[in-house]
Symmetry: C2
Subunit: 142 residues, 2 copies
Amino acid sequence: MRLTRAGEYGIRCVRHLAIHGQGKLVSRKEIASRTEVPPHFLAKIAQQLARAGIIEILQGANGGYRLLNDPAKITLLAVIEAIIGEISLNDCVGRPESCRDSALCTVHRVWNKANQQLRATLQEADFATLAREDACCLTSFP
Amino acid sequence: MRLTRAGEYGIRCVRHLAIHGQGKLVSRKEIASRTEVPPHFLAKIAQQLARAGIIEILQGANGGYRLLNDPAKITLLAVIEAIIGEISLNDCVGRPESCRDSALCTVHRVWNKANQQLRATLQEADFATLAREDACCLTSFP
DNA sequence: TCTATATAAGACTAAAAACATCTTATATGT
DNA sequence: ACATATAAGATGTTTTTAGTCTTATATAGA
């Protein structure tokens, strides 16, 4: 697992939308400038979020992005995995076939446990909470 | 954080040494072939493990590597961090200065918790245990 | 209907990191 | 002295990440 820049940007984007509330349309331009994400890069990230059913993209004049669901229902895990794919701390966890016998592998078992914990922690965090307080990472409201 | 190939190889190396027991000298050649790690790459990894005080390197004819401590005292965390540096799931965690106000950042707080959990889980795993049972990843004994 | 504005989609490029190898030097046992 | 083993760092290759650019498409409003 590795939180890439794209993943970080995806979080910023959803958090910014969450601050405005579900269904509120915000232009890509505004999101990009407020969260300091390169606009074209944000476009790609938004497409992934849209495919994952997290946001809706409206084209045309006065277009933009908006959250499809209640921020309280959107987890940090869902956003991250929409961007970087399912989290796996090492290959052993994500692709059992890369192990000779992953069911018995003591090392594997540790990774597996760590991976489950990590995903659980990220799943507990929802964007209603994440948007509520002031936060670093350039995503706070005016 | 990302478990690189080098990290994975470091684990294989220490596990192989742990199977032989503390203080037992094993040649780089044997470790490399048994764990399927490129010999020259293993040399670099071994140097990092040596700098971290995990193994001792003996030069010259009949040289090789050996564990300095009881495998039960060597944690998965120590080995991984000897190779890839201190684990941090995102920049926010590892470099608080990259946040405007990391103490208040709700996103940061989630990462921080996840990071602590991950390190704790990896610290609980020791190489006496990891070496005990059959395992995948090419590190089992003859 | 035409135009301005906005995003879509994917090709393309640059930079960084990962992965590995190669070469020269140094240490040790016989 | 010689054979064998690792040290150390330069070098090269591949993959991934990060970001940009271009052409196409959709929409609001004059």
